[in-house]
């Protein structure tokens, strides 16, 4: 099956103001897609805007062959995408990139999202539910109206804790503060130096750069491995143009650029050079 496909739009609807969900008939994608991967989507049919847009895979239905994209309308490309109607065709390339590592055993899984960062994590949570793994999810949003997929995540059987910047729902403040409070107050969460009592095995995150940097500090302090999904301006999506570079630490204290589209978008938070 080709990695370049014209997919039919099943539906494309606004879920909350400024945020859309597009369902595409793309069995070639659903067969292969792994959580954390993305599609490179052509938003219009002319040369302006020219480039495709990398959009993470939000959900797949392998039974129907449908793939869902959840996206925020941020500029001209995504505005054009939002104008698509059911029956329209959209050119997609993918699935592309390296996704999240799927836990194998009885691991305790923490998921932390900020804003639209929940999009790829929902697919991950879908997969976990299929494997019978229950995750603890910390979800941050600007306001109560912008909490995406909170109920759907609960329906998958995961626990959800929500933080809003304006305090209109649940915890008032940043999702990283909520997560750190949880670590400090939870009965089973280990403190620094808890050693063999460490139960919280792995964390997974996607959100704004500042949030991920903060989370990287917290998880490092608590000794919790963390995988982060990064975003960078992308040209080709296949590793040729070298525009979506991300600074990654090398063993000797230096750093090298990796490609978010091929070596990422998911990286170990400890290897990212946060600046």
């Amino acid at each position: 099956m080709s990695l370049v496909t014209d997919a039919k739009v099943i539906q494309n609807k606004q879920v909350i103001p400024g945020y859309y969900r597009m369902d595409l008939a793309a069995p070639s994608v659903t067969e292969r897609a792994r959580p954390g991967q993305f599609l490179h989507v052509r938003c219009g049919s002319t040369h302006d805007p020219l480039l495709r847009r990398p959009i993470s895979i939000n959900a797949v239905d392998r039974r129907t062959g449908e793939v869902s994209l959840l996206y925020r309308v941020a500029g001209r490309g995504t505005s054009l995408l939002a104008g698509h109607r059911s029956g329209d065709m959209v050119s997609i390339v993918g699935p592309l990139g390296r996704g999240f590592t799927i836990p194998e055993g009885n691991e305790k899984v923490i998921v932390v999202s900020g804003g639209i960062g929940i999009a790829p994590l929902y697919f991950f949570l879908q997969e976990l539910a299929g494997l019978g793994i229950k995750a603890t999810v910390f979800q941050g949003a600007a306001t109560s109206q912008q909490v995406l997929l909170g109920n759907e995540i609960k329906e998958l059987g995961h626990s959800v804790f929500i933080a809003t910047d304006d305090g209109t729902r649940d915890f008032h403040g940043s999702v990283t503060t909520l997560f750190e409070n949880y670590l400090q107050n939870s009965d089973f969460a280990p403190g620094p130096g808890a050693g063999e009592n460490l139960i919280m095995n792995k964390s997974y995150a996607c959100g704004p750069h500042g949030m991920l940097r903060k989370l990287s500090e917290i998880t490092a302090r608590w000794g919790i491995p963390c995988e982060v999904s990064l975003e960078e301006r992308m040209g080709c999506g296949v590793g040729a143009c070298l525009s979506c570079a991300c600074k990654v630490k090398t063993g000797d204290g230096g750093s090298v650029y990796h490609r978010v589209c091929v070596e990422g978008p998911v990286f170990q938070s400890g290897e990212v050079s946060w600046e």
Binding site: L50, L51, M234, A240
Partner: protein, 314 residues
Amino acid sequence: MISDSDNASISKPDLSVNVGGIRMKNPVTTASGTFGFGPEYAPYIDLNRLGAIVVKGTTLEPRAGNPTPRLVETPAGVLNSIGLQNPGVEHFIDEALPYLAGFDVPVIVNISGDTLEDYAGLAARLSRAGGVAGLEVNISCPNVKKGGMQFGGDPAMAAEVTRAVKENSELPVVVKLSPNVTSIAAVAEKVAEAGADAISLINTLLGMSVDIKTRRPILGNTMGGLSGPAVRPVAVRMVWQVYQAVKLPIIGMGGIATAADALEFILAGATAVAIGTANFVNPRATIDVLEGIEKYLSENGVGDIKELIGAAHG
């Protein structure tokens, strides 16, 4: 509807071209910096179908490249400031060349340096490596502090670099010119006098973009190189001018996305064409252009692509 037997009776047009000693089965190649070292696009196209592969710019030592953001989208184009990120010539010879040797495609290596000695050293090293069909001398990258466009902006310097490469290599030498000059023909003439076997143009046009929210330049390196369909008329004009100025074969590039675009360049004087930014949008762009050219020749009764080279000059 044409039956198979009818098809068999129509002889296929001759697409082969010779670019300064580099024999290509068709005129479609890739623009350096837009196609990696080849494997990036192998999942999308059969690399064997390309006329040649021009690989990512290579320097003597590895280069980290410029800070991000490295890319900005502009109307019908993109600005980039990658900064020649590459793993260095030894890594290229050890890792990329053996992979490319598995394909029946001439490999043209784009070389870049800070000094004349760098160019000379690269030319000598790659000539010994085997598996290289030609060198493309980059004297036109706008994104590096030293060398690059400084060489390409001065006809005398461009000639010196050309000479240094020719003296250190038996391989065909294609010199890639910068469009950021007053007279492209003057540079082409000097490069031809210095012994270049072919000329490729255009490299990117120096440009920049400012973020009105932060009120700062967007690119990490402030300025960058503009490519994509937006630059095509400038590139066609320069191919036209260079075709009139020198007798060397030209690899034309700059915003080619379709066969019609490619044919414009060929009619203006290009012997071959390179697909660059279009690969990012359509990973099959090279093959789509190639198939479109074949179709055009068949439909217009042109038996040999060479009949079209420079035909617009009358």
